[in-house]
Symmetry: D3
Subunit: 339 residues, 6 copies
């Protein structure tokens, strides 16, 4: 399986992650700025609006955004000129001073300069996994290599040898909200599922372990196209119109077609694992799990999504509090205990 490593080393993304990553330009993050400080760094500019003071003079407001949060910015002087420097969603280098205004921080901008996307590291501006992406990929590939069935093994190899796919797969989030909603989240979730399957698959007799593992590794591949994750995380057109379940089946079809003699029956139960992995129609699976492997995948997927999502929610809350705030989607408070 040397091909994989070779291929991966040529990957542009890989360079970022394997030590050759150039030093980021970014040192100041929004959530660390304090009133009174001067700021000089790159942010995404969003929500720009031209407004007018009582005396009729114009001023410009927008938000500076990075992966740590967002903050209001205002331009009082030289407004016309400055407003032409950038468009909605651009990267901008901003110089100015932070001050308290109406109980919130505000950056009074003095200088402003558009920055080319090539100059920045997107992960400074979007939340990202704090784990080593390449290491996770290596681990997932190693687990893939334990699959003995030659068709399934070949299929996994076909995916991991597809550089375009791997680049996306290493970067994609697993969700817009709730769990693994950050760059690298899909890989992190997939690796977790693969390991849970390894831990559990020996527990029951009569399972097709190769099928279970392959289905587990591929169950969410459609998410590489379901989301946009360049300057912000959102659903793509195909994500909203087709869902990652349908996209995943389409991706599987293309890879299987390119392989020789992949058995129809095997393709069917594998696609069924993608189709049914949300467990019920209510959650978007056109058919519920009808094989033992699909049942197991469904529960492990829910387990991993829930545990990871709830833990992240707990971690994002006031560390001193016994209870989290109310979780609107899961409709409950979570208990963090007293200690």
């Amino acid at each position: 399986m040397t091909t994989w490593t070779q291929l991966l080393q040529k990957s542009v993304w890989h360079k970022h992650l394997r030590g050759v990553r150039r030093k980021t330009l970014k040192e100041t993050f929004v959530n660390t700025i304090k009133a009174g400080e001067s700021v000089n760094d790159i942010f995404v500019a969003r929500g720009r609006q031209l407004a007018y003071k009582k005396d009729g003079a114009p001023y410009l407001t927008f938000s500076i955004v990075d992966r740590s949060g967002d903050m209001k910015a205002v331009v009082w002087d030289d407004v016309r000129a400055m407003s032409k420097v950038f468009s909605e969603g651009d990267y901008v280098k901003v110089k100015g001073n932070a001050r308290e205004y109406r109980e919130a921080l505000q950056l009074v901008v003095r200088e402003l300069e558009r920055v080319d996307p090539d100059q920045v590291d997107a992960r400074d501006f979007l939340p990202a996994t704090n784990r080593d992406v390449d290491q996770m990929l290596d681990q997932l590939i190693k687990i893939s290599q334990t699959v003995e069935n030659e068709h399934l093994s070949g299929l996994l190899a076909a995916f991991f040898n597809d550089r375009a796919f791997v680049d996306l797969f290493k970067t994609a989030p697993a969700a817009k909200k709730m769990h693994h909603a950050y760059l690298g989240g899909l890989l992190e979730h997939t690796l977790s599922i693969a390991r849970l399957i390894q831990a559990v698959s020996g527990h029951y007799k009569g399972l097709d372990k190769d099928l279970l593992l392959t289905g587990g590794i591929l169950h969410d591949i459609g998410k590489v196209h379901e989301f946009l994750y360049e300057t912000h995380i959102d659903y793509s057109d195909s994500g909203r119109l087709l869902s990652h379940i349908v996209i995943g089946v389409e991706m599987l079809d293309k890879k299987i077609e390119a392989l020789n003699g992949f058995p129809d029956d095997l393709a069917l139960v594998l696609k069924h694992m993608i189709v049914s992995h949300h467990g019920t129609r209510d959650f978007g699976s056109p058919e519920p799990p009808k094989t033992l492997e699909a049942i197991i995948l469904n529960y492990l997927d829910e387990l991993d999504a829930k545990v990871t999502g709830v833990r992240a929610f707990m971690d994002s809350e006031d560390p001193g509090a016994t209870w989290t705030s109310y979780h609107k989607i899961l409709e409950r408070y979570f208990y963090r205990g007293k200690g």
Copy 2:
């Protein structure tokens, strides 16, 4: 579009339907047999069981089935030999006499002979549309020819020029129960949808009529593989494991791939119509309708399925009754009025 007609004339199915259809061997149907009559015709044999009389002598029971219903049959003499003549599900030519036994009809079989599937017309044994299949297909093709968008027009032609597809499409039922649950039902339903779309599409401004019509014609194509319909109507493996929605997207992908330069955006909204045509996740659509064309298709599809299904249910009931019996799936009685 002559190709279509040419192709269709070569079709084996076509021959059946365009006058060259050989005279069926079958003259006697189960629902017309009366006590005291002698019977000599072909049926499907199902549910065969060997049993024993009080004196220990064996006898053989099974059901004779055709598209009109089923009836018990019994062999009293020469049982061992007769039981070797056929297997479960075979076509058999049966000679015997009908009699009343325990308040039901029963055929006492004297002679029994296995018949080759080639010798029979499957539609004698499965319920089938009572409309002319080729005529319906011609009408659907004519409607297809009104599509002006060259990509969509080309796509429809690709389907109708695919003889294997057309053969299945002309034969497939639209459901196992409820509505159009008979051979030719898919075509009948599709034609009805296409006409409803023609009637309605001028009603609202700003619709993409070509898209609406193409989506309407292709929305259920996955059903040609969702069902088995050779000797009985049931779900296929892929039907149960993937659903006709996913199968339909796969079929569309293959045809689109074979065309040159089919626009991605157009493919997306077309596939969305298949994906969403059941309206909600509860009914098996991974995503609900998000375009006007998809919304319209969803309601017309429900309208046609409900009206056709309820009318067939009404017609199957006692013609003298004001109300039908209770419809378990739709959970109500239907009112047929007083006369």
Copy 3:
């Protein structure tokens, strides 16, 4: 059926709509006012509040409202006197200047005068259909005249000859939100349903077309009393306590009682169409559709409501965006495409 036309020409509403409509006093609409402009026109005044500056001096704030939207207004001088000029919900003629204040427009009012409701055209202050009301009514009456059953025809005539009913029917909205939520919306929706029925009723055999058409025309009549639509659109007491379905049956009962010999059975199936037209109990129908005509009405009603509501929602959004914002009631984003 000349009576109808004669009657309609005498209608007060009719005059408004047939060219004799006096020129509206209103020229300035809220959504066209720009910072810096002076304003002199009539608006509805809502949400008036007396407040105090830091120096203790009072000032008066309220919103000026018309069919195009609303805008903050403030009175700084002569506050006590000005505040006595008008009450909540009154029409007021306002003179003042628009300015930008805290990122929103605000009207600084100099003069203020209450205006009598007789002086204004309510449709300047409430959203209204942009189609010709009388023309729609004529079209609906023409469709009504195709009903051949003398009882149903007589019933429709009884409604259209009832001037009080017609006046309300021409003005009422079809909803408070979602679809046709504007003056004339009920008529627009009813006409659309009548036309859909004409388009579809020939599609299936064995339908009672007269019943279907009459039920379609009368299905929402209860809405003329379900809503208030004089200075704003809201539910009436009887609308909230009884629902338009029950009100509609009551209205039908009264008209039928006044006719001679309307057959009981016909009344029953017609009332059933009103009772069941929301399709399920969940949506407010005490009984689900139990006749083919009721089933068809239910789907066409949903189709028209959804298509019209979604299209209006699409049209109200940023024309440059591929997707609409999130639709809270239908729980999805809608796709407007890239073109």
Copy 4:
């Protein structure tokens, strides 16, 4: 209020119930017939079928039905003649002998004679309340007389002075299944509700007791037309097509119209009590309770229906068992305790 008593004494139904009821012809009930006994009494004949023995000779089977249950009957001799004596659903006088056949009782009929409906007391053939109907009516009227509001009092009098209504109201069941599903059940349930309201209405301040009581007494009046209860209990056409809620509002409208000056607001909240008394749309109320009186009626109605229905279910079960059998609609076993 003497009118009421006078009127009621003239009622045909009344005679049955006030001592002048003629002795029933019926002495033998189905559930008391034992194998070996001879039978000579009147029953309803249902499900008649002509069948044939092995030797080709015809025989006739049907069920004999009365309020205690049903039992198979068979005619072996003189079949052609006997089969012409009666039609489906007729009352028949039957002579014959009961015997055990295939583990069930069967009546071998020797003589058979059609009986005119006038000759029988319908309550021998349908389950009926075991309480005194006139006494219950008297009690309900006495409670009605405590209503002080002259409009409501007049309305109640209008109903109780309507002989046709009273006759139906005294006879109607309150349901087809579940609770009070027997002749007189509607009256029994209504009286129970009226008493519960008396017990509870002093419990909360600020209630309109007259409204609450009147709404309670009239809430189910639509049931007199929702059901058929002549020879068996079933839904009527209008019951299935409109529901007793809509029918009840129609009945109220007619009575109110005939009264002078019944206040609109009062009519509205009274009708709202009928409209909303099932509590939610799911249970068939187009609007949920929106006044305190409607809320109270809803819960007392549910309380009475549930307690009465469950107690009847408990009483119908094996008296020695700790638990009832499974109640399919309420989806549970009920606990009757150990002694």
Copy 5:
């Protein structure tokens, strides 16, 4: 049963309530403060935040809270020192002046002093029943004394003789929102249920009145631990993790264990009343009611909660309005009528 009275007279809570209650320190309540007034009283301080003016000078904001509502407070001078005087949630004595600021009232604080919890009466700061707590308790005890079954009577005595329990039971709210959401609310609700049971239990035959009454009195005892109600009303840890249903069963178990020879069967049906009193699993009952007594308790509980909650909601709204505002949990407007 003298013990109860004796015990209760020693209760600390009792003293508050029987006339010996010391005069509260509190005279000014938030909802009575007007712009321009000076304030000098005790409040709870919540949501304290240090902020900065444009000139960099700090100021302190927080809310002053009591049972009547809350109001913004601000400290402009001597900020550092004043901010050290109190912590979040403390009682503080505040001197200052109310003024209108940005359309809301604001208290400009001049002096600030922390107050010890012992110095205040918690009910000044939390909403409380406006009925006499001891009188309600006496009434409930009198009703308890009508229970004749010695085991149930002994059980009730055990609870009412438990001073710690009684203290909590007299103080606890019955809910955080919706109904009886104030100090003493649990007792008020329980007394109401006990009386409803007295009114209704004679209505049906065959009920175990002692069981019904005891179950009614004890059904919500778990709420004394489900809530926190010292300085604000919220769920406790055990309330959120176990629910008052489970806590109630645990409390019952402990009391029953301490009694001699309480019959197992009786304990079972009594615990079942607690377990099932929410009626369905959806509302938190692990099992639905399976005895008549449990069914009755469930409906009376819902009746009392709904009527009391809706009436309180109606009372909290604009007295001049015909309709309340929208009730988000019950999902409707309520009708208060026109008079």
Copy 6:
């Protein structure tokens, strides 16, 4: 921890299972009896009924039942005497001959003798785990011994040292239907959960493994009292009235009370795991999981129940079929594949 082993060796149940189990009297099982064979063995007798032949002579029918199924039995001779020999549900020793009658097997009984329950091994008559119960218990105890927290460890020891509990825990089923619905099923399920927890608990950081394992081992203890499992498997009174969730909390309370100084907080989160392990209120948990440990337990419990239940269902079906029959509770067919 020798105590446990010592204790267990004295257990009566233990003897059965550790080789000293006396040879069962039973050799013939219902599902192996063939027409024509003579039978002489012990069965449970159920559904006894006395009936009469056409000639008036009595005969006796009942079912003979053991763990393999049931079969009709009939006594033609000496009926009165034989019918006195046994009561419903007794163990009987039966001699007779099997024959085919009306397409089913029937045992014609010649001799009949009641058998004392002490003489039989209940597991011959009820389905039981096919795994070694003591071995499973040993394994579970070993896993329990890995718990390090002294309180939790002491709690587990308290349960496993309670001989009465252990005897029940080794015998109880885990369900009446669906999964582990046989003797020993509870232990089998609990052991499986404990192992799954071991496999998974290292997978996520920050979990309290001791809590997770203890909660997993104790989550279903209430089932030892929820079911009856002496001569047949059914719900007990307390099972139906309280549910195993409430019973489990009660059992935990008693054990914790007997221990010294078990921390309240620990008891709370442990009880929460029992309370919430069904995941949602719909499935009978009064509160949903609010800790990570409770979330994990919920999913592993569902995983084990579903996989085990579906596998057992698959195994019980025709081994040659690709699909199982329809599973009514899970509402789907399951796919067993083609090979």
